[in-house]
Amino acid sequence: MQDQTKFDVIVVGGGHAGCEAASAAARMGARTALITHKIATIGEMSCNPAIGGLGKGHLVREIDALDGLMGRIADRSGIQFRMLNRSKGPAVWGPRAQIDRKLYREAMQEEILNHENLTIIQDGVEDLIVSGERVGGVIGESGTSYAASAVVITTGTFLKGIIHRGAERIPAGRVGEKPAIGLSDRLYALDLPMGRLKTGTPARLNGKTINWDLLEKQPADDEPIPFSYLMDRIEVPQVSCGITFTNPEAHEIISDNIAQSAVYSGAIAGRGPRYCPSIEDKIHRFAEKTRHQIFLEPEGLDDDTVYPNGISTSLPREVQDAFIRKIEGLETVEILEYGYAIEYDYVDPRALDAGLQVKALSGLYLAGQINGTTGYEEAGAQGLVAGMNAVRSASGEPHETFDRAEAYIGVLIDDLVTRGVTEPYRMFTSRAEYRLSLRSDNADQRLTERGIALGLVGETRAEMFHVKQTALNAGRDALRSQTMTPNEAQKLGWKVNQDGQRRSAWEYLAYPSIDMAAIVLAFPDLANLSPAIKAQLEIEAMYAGYIERQKDDVEALRREEALRLPADLDYAAVGGLTNEVRAKLDMIRPATLGQAGRIEGMTPGALTALLAYVRRRPSRKQSAHA
């Protein structure tokens, strides 16, 4: 038997970041260990049992394109698939699924426990081993030392976690689980910039006691579309959610007791997310609104627990009882578990480089909520990148990153390490400048090739990918080879420029008024393309014009990314910078001019000064000053 205390890479924490990190490292062939408090909670969804949404769904597809776990696991456990934003264009469609919490956890555990190159260890990590300039492993609460060349920490909300509910204070990572104290102390001792954030969760309801008949229903899509490129169909039975609303009576109860809310009593220092406010926040800040929407989401097929999405709260139990029962459909509801807010430590992600390594300690990587993000998808995406780079660092190779024009993963990590966070960070499509090319339909085309080169992608997927690429290329060629004069096009009723120019089927498809069905009617030879290929090419053609126009921008981005700023750059020596900008540059130490430009508060002038400085540097070095 192999030594169970020596590894290439150790991942601490079996949440969403941890699972992806461990799997990525193991897929790349590294001897990997995942050390977590409880094997039974691997893959646990701490909060809302849902995966995907706008921006988040994009991340899941990207994780999947790199052969990560989340998409496939969600496909095996999703009980209400919906494609959000169907009325808009495919660039902003957001795949989302309500998840059966138990199915998800089981599928994830099955995957993780049977993973090649991966050892699962149940232990709490209390400390890091540091050997010289580098991390050398971790120490468990069991007293065992585990050695590794690189360590990925993905401890979520567990660092000095405290649950707040009314006047109650319970140290916990999430409800019923103890927090991680030793590790937090260790990170403080490393002198990393840290802070407190908070997030909250609503009460859980007994579905049997909900008066469903009164409520509007939101069904799943008729044809659920899977997350994973490997899946062509969803087998899990689909259910509906209910929709209800708060009302003035409930609001009054909340207002009357707002002083008892942990959030309002001033007990919590950490900042919470603006886009996911507690119900007391909503009522306080939007006093003019007489109702707020609530989705009643079943947590599983054979689980009666219902997650009331929209009323997260840290009010005392009796107030939760009172206001919830004022809500239509919930008049006699039984509360299974009360809502709470949780406050926890996070590390300012500007202390990390773009490979998610702690700048102050080589070999130490952080991923997930510990970096100030919120959400399973954001956690998973970081986990994958941290796991990959941990392996690269363990074998002496430089980090690999994804840029903002390539993936939401790139946007996410660049935002974190460049701009830091002021509230729990979640992904939105509007964070992506190149949203029209970073679509959820083409994540495989954007990333799988690189994933193969990086050693992240297994054979099955690589093969499927190549088959699809070949079919897409053939389809594109076919569309480009079929042509028609504008005169002929006009006879078909198409409105096109009558300039005598023959155009290809591909060019006609780019017209918003001409869809694939019309193209196939006009060019019968194209009828034998498969429906999936046709759908993909139709989307491509739709955005082709804009993407062509963005080419210059992308090139400019990549040019600026290519202008590397030396890691030891003395910002005090660069003239024309205000003290504020200088301090930021000094802390973030951007790797490239492009990254410098994205730092908050950067002035164009400061950038010009930097640009001038880096350009001048090499030639100045030769002509030494007299």
Binding site: K88, P512, E560, A573, P604, G605, A606
Partner: protein
Amino acid sequence: MAIRRDTICALASGLPPSAISVIRISGPATTSIIQSRLSVSPLKPRHASLVDLRSRSGSVIDSGLAIYMPGPASYTGEDTLEISLHGGRMITELALESIMSAGARLAEPGEFTRRAFEAGKLDLTRAEAVADLIDAESEAQLSQALKQMDGALEDLYSGWRADLTEMLALLEASIDFPDEEDAPDRVDAPVLEKLNTLRSDLIDALADGNITERIRDGFKVAILGKPNAGKSTLLNQLAKREAAIVTDIPGTTRDVVEVRLVLGGYLVWISDTAGLRETVDVVEAEGVRRALKVADEADLRLWIHDAREPIESDRVQPGDLVVSNKSDLADPESVSRETLSISAKTGFGIDLIEAAIVERLGALTKNVGAPIITRARHRQGLERALTQLEAAIDHLKAGIGSEFVSEDVRLASRELGTLTGHVDPESVLGAVFSSFCIGK
């Protein structure tokens, strides 16, 4: 060793000899230059001190007033020193030499302002205004440059940009929060309304902006008429020099002759043109073609005719000035009261013509408050922003995805951002600063 940003110096006032010359120094070596070259050190910040300026060998070059402004509260954001010396050629030369030998180099044109821009003290339009302020020859140019320096353009352009940001917020909310009851799902109507408003604002600005662009670049006044009417004679009178050839041969002038003048506070370009007539002479015909083109592009047209001949008014448009020349030869009774009567040869009535030109320009600029556009760069940026807005309006009306509309709006906003310098350091700044040439 760390490479520090260098220190620059330059003569900040006009060429000597002059009453005084002001030398300006900016950069990290300023304090050491004070220490090694001035008789008083350290200098009290923002305070005029009487000092001796010494050469490298220690001999006194001159004495004058020095003001030290430590960064970042200075024009360039760096440590800055200004010394006023006697304005002799030799003094100035020796002074600069002394300062350079103490660790400064001569500034390139525009370098002080560029540093101010880089320090975030000015946006691009204000930096441009500094150049305009220095170059101003007319009162109108000066007052306009002052308003621009005060942020008139920056405020206008960033205001529009803020409108776009507001629209983006609506569009993005509808995209990223599709399930939220509060997120404005039907944003099309309010966004369309805002787009249309901004569109007409931009169209108005492009029209009105013509005038403010002209105030900076000069108004174009064309002298037109039949051969021998006395156009070239009039030009010479206005220019007070022999700018164009005058003969009694009809068809003398072929090329367009341009003269730059300041009239009543406005900068104007007056063009003398070939006399208009049918001709088989190839050279003259080309002259006539050019004359008509000048007529087309002019802000004001002066039609000159011989007072003894009838006015041929088929080309005259409302707003043009009609001038009867050679009043010295004409029967005073026959001269129309509608027209200005002058003698280009004797100079009679030239003051009336000048007054008439100034009055017309006054009418053109009457409604101009703050400047809107003062450079071709601004016009092009606004035109591109307008194109994007129109695309957004089309896409919104066609009902194709709001992600397209949002992209169009973002591009429009970026175009406006390039005007104030709030984007893409490499390309925009490179382009702007390569054409940025001012005396400081």
